[in-house]
Symmetry: C2
Subunit: 373 residues, 2 copies
């Protein structure tokens, strides 16, 4: 029972997780694409099994440590969605050799493509790589259907089987809370991937994978024609950053931080909880669209419903400060009382914890997760 768990602790509501997974599965089925969920938020074999209903994949990861963790658990089709560098190829090959899993790498440079060709390997060690396309975020990737794309494709084509396809990520879809604007970005994302695949195919090369990412664009795309797979991830848990953009309801958020009221400061009009900067993270991305949401919304421990307008407005390493405008809340929340905090950005918050405490029918159980590199 989470009532007996020492705080702070990370709580996962299985009922909400299952509902979120089912909602995305239905959406994906209606779009006739594959789902390659991004496990960078959950980083948990147990969550992956719950979401996929299997332990084989396909999945997406953000670190080679995740890739190895999932590969050793049987997941055999893993896209590592951060640009590969030569020094990491030995690790990639070791994972493939020892587990039999296939890792799909990504690159957006000729330099890395040449290193991939030189190191391509055979059998279980054989490398496969997607070319990353920049569909508008301008963080990484080459321009869609560009000469740079053609050059990387031609470089990778020197080794049969090395060029696996293209991938892109509309990270800039997080920059708006307009469904129409997201749908527009989704179409640009789709076209970036599809046009790039067409260019590769026109050169006589295979482009089996045409992969796009981002939960908002997958949910609101008008069409995913020509796309083979979607790499969304935050939909499993949701968070205030997504809620603030209208992507989910508060009642969809499946992860929360169990915390304890450790101090009252009526003079300052605030109380203190034992979930601070490490337990919640310092990410305040949700505040762009919900300026007062701070580091999280304070909820009742049992019902996970917000308590008044309580927010974690300030954090120190192990202290969270909660302004209290209604003095009656001091008696409702005495020292020692437990609360649950809906996180601002789940990817960052979850990374502070090595396990999930489950609720509902699985109360008392924990699911593991990994962190670091």
């Amino acid at each position: 029972m989470i009532e007996a768990t020492e705080t702070p602790a990370l709580v996962l509501d299985i009922q909400r997780l299952n509902k979120n997974a089912a909602r995305m599965a239905a959406r994906i089925a209606s779009c006739d694409v594959g789902l390659r969920p991004h496990m960078k938020t959950a980083k948990s074999i147990d969550v992956a099994r719950a979401v996929l209903g299997a332990d084989k994949g396909p999945i997406t990861v953000s670190t080679l440590k995740e890739a190895e963790y999932f590969a050793r658990a049987g997941f055999d089709d893993i896209l590592y969605a951060v640009a590969i560098v030569p020094a990491k190829l030995d690790h990639v090959k070791r994972i493939q050799r020892e587990t039999g899993a296939r890792l799909l790498l990504t690159t957006d440079s000729v330099a890395a493509a040449e290193a991939l060709v030189a190191a391509a390997g055979e059998g279980r060690e054989a490398l496969q790589c997607l070319i990353e396309i920049d569909c508008g975020e301008h963080r990484s990737g080459v321009a869609p259907a560009s000469p740079a794309l053609a050059e990387i494709a031609a470089t990778l084509a020197a080794r049969e089987g090395l060029l696996g396809g293209v991938m892109t990520h509309a990270g800039h879809s997080y920059g708006t809370d307009s469904i129409e604007a997201i749908a527009d970005i989704a179409e640009i994302e789709r076209r970036a991937a599809v046009d790039s695949a067409a260019m590769i195919r026109a050169a006589g090369l295979a482009c089996p994978v045409v992969s796009i990412g981002s939960t908002p664009t997958i949910l609101h795309a008008r069409s995913l024609e020509g796309i083979t797979e979607a790499r969304c991830g935050i939909y499993m848990f949701w968070d205030l950053a997504q809620y603030s953009r209208g992507m989910c309801g508060l009642d969809d958020i499946a992860v929360s931080v169990l915390a304890t009221v450790i101090g009252h400061n009526p003079q300052a009009g605030s109380m203190v909880i034992d979930a601070g900067a490490l337990a919640l993270s310092k990410d305040i991305g949700a505040n762009r669209f919900m300026p007062d949401v701070g580091y999280g919304i304070v909820c009742d421990c049992a019902t996970l419903q917000p308590i008044g307008d309580l927010r974690v407005a300030n954090v120190h390493q192990e202290h969270g400060t909660v302004p209290v405008s209604d003095p009656a809340l001091f008696s409702q929340l005495p020292i020692g009382k437990r609360v649950r905090i809906l996180p601002n950005h789940a990817c960052m918050t979850c990374a502070a914890y090595d396990r999930y405490h489950l609720t509902g029918a699985k109360a008392g159980m924990t699911w593991s997760r990994i962190n670091g590199w």
Copy 2:
């Protein structure tokens, strides 16, 4: 050798650590107070041994997990500097019982004090608690020499040995980069602790511990008269937050994040490294006094000297974006090149890693650290 370490990774420069520890030891000796270093940044037995030259304490910690980790390694005098709640007392007693260590707890409420009295225990399990004083940060603690202080002291005094003294933390000393202002805050901090101890003693009670914290105030206090111990911690590692306030030099910062250039984006005028929001943290506290410092300063891997004006200006989970104004830097930093990032806030950055990679005479070695709760 860090050259062979997969990135991102946390690097600790032992020479700088030793120099920083010696500097603070000399300062503390000149003030004639005890040093109870705060291990919430380092969270490492190895670092504690290096800083203290022993593995006994006294030390300060921010979580009971840290307390247990250090107690099991022999540290026997541990101040847990976050307000205690009744549900955590069983854990406190278990640590004391199984290791023989003495934990000093803290409280600022009559409610918690009453719970401490009820649970006080005997022998190895006997609890000891300091009263937290608010010296101006207004996060937690009772007002100095206030009726609230007297009431908590009288409550704790019901059990002999339970009242261990007073502690305060001038966290608001981080709010300025003026040495004069810090010295003024240090004097207020000192007076808050000393006046509170005097009030307790005037009531006929013992107040052996009179404890203050914060690296800036310890370094710049005009007097520490009446103080028994100082709980500074960030001085071991330093970071850009401290550098931005004039507390240290860039060459004093002992921790850095080893990262690899994974992408060039000349069109956008930026490059990408594999140290992002998780590897660096999203803390940008230093930016208050150094607005352009972003998430960290990009340095040469071997010399740890800044490369041009390179900063990590933006982060995603595993991507750090570095604006490049001088195109020559693209050839100086090709894809695959390693760099080291001086962190904005070391306490947050280090928390993403489970070990330190050492440099210099200890190159190739790692020191462990713990995280979480």
